[in-house]
Symmetry: D2
Subunit: 339 residues, 4 copies
Amino acid sequence: MIVVMKSEATDEQIEKVVSTIKELGYKAHVIKGVLRTVIGAVGDERGKPHHLESLSILEGVEKVVPILQPYKLASREFKPDNTIVKVGNVEIGGNKIVVMAGPCSVENEEQIIETAIAVKNAGASILRGGAYKPRTSPYTFQGLGEEGLKLLAKARQITGLPVVTEILDPHDLDVIAEYSDMLQIGARNAQNYALLKHVGRCNKPVLLKRGMATTITEFLMAAEYILSEGNPNVVLCERGIRTFETATRNTFDLNAIPVLKEKTHLPVLADPSHGTGYWQYVTPMALAAIAAGADGLLIEVHYKPEIAVSDGGQSLKPSKFAALMEKARAVAKAVGREI
Amino acid sequence: MIVVMKSEATDEQIEKVVSTIKELGYKAHVIKGVLRTVIGAVGDERGKPHHLESLSILEGVEKVVPILQPYKLASREFKPDNTIVKVGNVEIGGNKIVVMAGPCSVENEEQIIETAIAVKNAGASILRGGAYKPRTSPYTFQGLGEEGLKLLAKARQITGLPVVTEILDPHDLDVIAEYSDMLQIGARNAQNYALLKHVGRCNKPVLLKRGMATTITEFLMAAEYILSEGNPNVVLCERGIRTFETATRNTFDLNAIPVLKEKTHLPVLADPSHGTGYWQYVTPMALAAIAAGADGLLIEVHYKPEIAVSDGGQSLKPSKFAALMEKARAVAKAVGREI
Amino acid sequence: MIVVMKSEATDEQIEKVVSTIKELGYKAHVIKGVLRTVIGAVGDERGKPHHLESLSILEGVEKVVPILQPYKLASREFKPDNTIVKVGNVEIGGNKIVVMAGPCSVENEEQIIETAIAVKNAGASILRGGAYKPRTSPYTFQGLGEEGLKLLAKARQITGLPVVTEILDPHDLDVIAEYSDMLQIGARNAQNYALLKHVGRCNKPVLLKRGMATTITEFLMAAEYILSEGNPNVVLCERGIRTFETATRNTFDLNAIPVLKEKTHLPVLADPSHGTGYWQYVTPMALAAIAAGADGLLIEVHYKPEIAVSDGGQSLKPSKFAALMEKARAVAKAVGREI
Amino acid sequence: MIVVMKSEATDEQIEKVVSTIKELGYKAHVIKGVLRTVIGAVGDERGKPHHLESLSILEGVEKVVPILQPYKLASREFKPDNTIVKVGNVEIGGNKIVVMAGPCSVENEEQIIETAIAVKNAGASILRGGAYKPRTSPYTFQGLGEEGLKLLAKARQITGLPVVTEILDPHDLDVIAEYSDMLQIGARNAQNYALLKHVGRCNKPVLLKRGMATTITEFLMAAEYILSEGNPNVVLCERGIRTFETATRNTFDLNAIPVLKEKTHLPVLADPSHGTGYWQYVTPMALAAIAAGADGLLIEVHYKPEIAVSDGGQSLKPSKFAALMEKARAVAKAVGREI
């Protein structure tokens, strides 16, 4: 932590900062500059009860600048090698790019089974589908609940594809864990720390989506919540952030992919369906995600998007998804990977 | 819902949109423009299983524009008069501006009791303090839990101030409801719909904070989740949104106050402590919030901010809080209200 | 400038950073931390040809953190007392709050004269009106040009109000300076450095609006461009930034007012008309701006807003403007100022 | 334009809206819905003096929703085929992906010549370099001016690469046009309409960068300014928008590429150097841009980035640029294009 003093700060004010740093358990290192003094506080803040940011309230302090990244278990410094997360028999994080596909919501048996068979045939290796849905409105379809989980399990039985589905309420953890192979934490719960702790204490792999206003550092801190509870099987997923642009539903932040690959050992997926919100942009942005280094894709596919109860506008028909997979294989090969 | 067709859309494509609108249970109304055709879909979407936004996937459709606001119980159209929410004996939403004050976290008995007495003496009417804390890092202080709740109850006994405290985990609902007078849903849980439903089913008033990337419409939809479960006692709180500006911790969006007062009957508070993130901006922005029409303030006060375990940099000392209250009374009077 | 090294940085890499810092004309100060080394570079970057941010490309460097604010003439450190800018006989930056009002565009003689008389009668002290308009579309009204300037001058003659109007093209500087008392740089030109230099070399006061994506630091750097060319008469104006929220046209960032008043000696105005974009929010946000410490207001007033050629939706009718002024006087008094 | 009435709007208010629409020269089409009335205004707004957005000020109106996109010449509806822009002998917008590379600023003869030779050898087909620089600070290097232009011309003579360079001030148009092959409008001038009109009246191709807060619609409107003045040779360039994320210098919005390719016939380039701001992210994001459908790249290359006077941190060394080109060729081939 670096404390920057105001140019008019007095020696007494500087001394007070130094003594407070020491009281809080750190070493202080004073650098007198041409225009102002800065004070380095040396020591690891993680685990300490008192934090140095409160120094900003002392007189003469202009600002307090953090130096250390606050995450540890998630960092590549801590673990230089890529983590491989296994979901059923599928490995995420290796050279092979993993594609998860399926409908936004499980609606009925025909829909989920037909869609599951279609995505499997096109080359997807994990089936996605929501049984508990976080809808902006309480008046829209909230998911089939346990009935939806059973249909997902049936689709898995038929296709052999492992299943990922979203959890919203800690009370549903047991039932969701029973039927699914991977738990998804959605964007709106990316900083729901209570839920993160609950999934951190179970032994299922977790697909953690970035929140709409979550910085990359905060995203890694959210992963750290899960890791620090003992669950090492976390897969990150970029799915768009919220900006001023409205031509896309979100601003799919592909930059996050190389940034995350640099800063963490965890696998990084990309969700161009939510990221863009329009089916016609899904394929180019899926290819871009692979070129940028993503370890996998999450794609919404619906056998009849125009009657989908949710997110129809961003879902691909099976034929378009198959065409996407064909192109994705070519781009993956161009960057030295396979699908 | 208005469906805008592409300029080159064929008659067949227009007819397909019209027939799909009818199949989904709405009436269709076609307007042929100079450059393109638009189709109005007449009917209330709320409660219908199929939504018209999926029409965007039909061929020839350029975009689908929603017309209705999606909230109902929260809207001023539904209930033109201001709602008054009672917390203990304190009424929120009337002519009197209500000030909630206290520390970010309950740290120990001396801290919470001394701070509670100080804010009461300065004119606050509700005590705030966190026992369960949503911290960005799993390695920082997570709150005293039930012990913190007991200290808040003790502070209430001594000062007579009702107590508001945050809930993070549905599992803690009973114990928090036992000790406190109002439940706070924090910014990171503003779209945690599972938690919103749980507090919607209990009979405690709820202080709902706006999320960092929550639009005003989504904020009202989050309130609608609580209202539609049967709990009418919701108080909204603007606390800053996330933007590119870093001179403040968040961008405290005061515009939300007149917008919300126009669109909803629910009381609207402002939290300039989180909104700005720096103690020196809290007083001017608190005064601005009152001038903009806020029904109350949420202010972080700590008897010794420089040793606070959380948010020290944005907390006011009791003397500065008392000075704020003095100025706030003058501004309230200028806009025809009292504190 | 603080250079933060990676935790795995070698001694050679640290030494290379130190030697490069010295070559570039600064002193280096090494702090060995528990987890990583940071290197302080001591010296004033302003005026130096080579900048330290390029150090980020050296091996072993994690990031480079700037310490100094980059502006000088605009800073309160440089000039602690408030600057008073005179426009005609009107002083901006003193205890008296200055209100500039008038239409978005000058449309015709009746419109500008009637509106000017109305705003004067209500208590405005400067007339605003656009003769050269920065419109998003080339197909919309671009302003009356010199004819508009003459009408503004006529309105000044009748009412005695000094006139502020926008400049878009350096080629128009002479003609605009001839007819007006103050030059406005609009939001879209806030970082048009060529234009800033041109107005910095003339002797007219400048009203500099914040850009839609301009941080407060960049805003002060834009002012610095004008000041450093020799023109000390700069008035800043907050007018809304661009965020994800669409309930208002922009997000009027009132926080900028106390932040700017802390960091600079220049006067700070607020423009709630552009800031919010809807007439019904202009009055509450104008009052909020005064409570937050603004030195003045910029308000769009049109004698017949429903037929305005630009920005009708955010313009006040004269009667509503007069009511705003009445309320503004009360709030100004409450914070120890007058209008 | 669709006018949405409030649910409580009276028949008189609806009638007033209808009559005003007619007075302004449009046809009105009323749709009575279950909960509210909407009124379609039929007619092309482009070229009309009075705009319908001002209808929002009429009583009973809830909001006014635009239907038409406001650009015409830039739209793919107007011109379905891709536009090819020729710069020297280089064609932009065809199947071949065009790479523009070079330093941020022209610093001296050795630097520009050596860098130009290096980028040519690696496969770049246009040389970029700034002679007039838009720097955030007036105290940093502002470019060599005409001397820089002469050095660019010399580099062209040696390498045969056409030259693109930025224009800031309309006064410099003649001299820049004399020495260069393409004029660049930078992000800070993306809505400097005076400058756009000036370059629209000259016969040089224009490289128009997206502004930091410019929506895609506004970006196309900026292009429309140039096109409507008679210059059809406009190339668009995505270079990052401003969001809350600080891990990258800007948020490089790759989504803009498929969106722009859908909406306009103009060529679309991508600038991952400014888009990300860090050299280590330039290569993956350059590959992603190609996969997303970009017609070309703009890459900062400096022969010695650590001593660059500007943007050193985001510049590639020639060896890294050559490696990027190698990978780019593979990705281009995978999506059916060549470099």
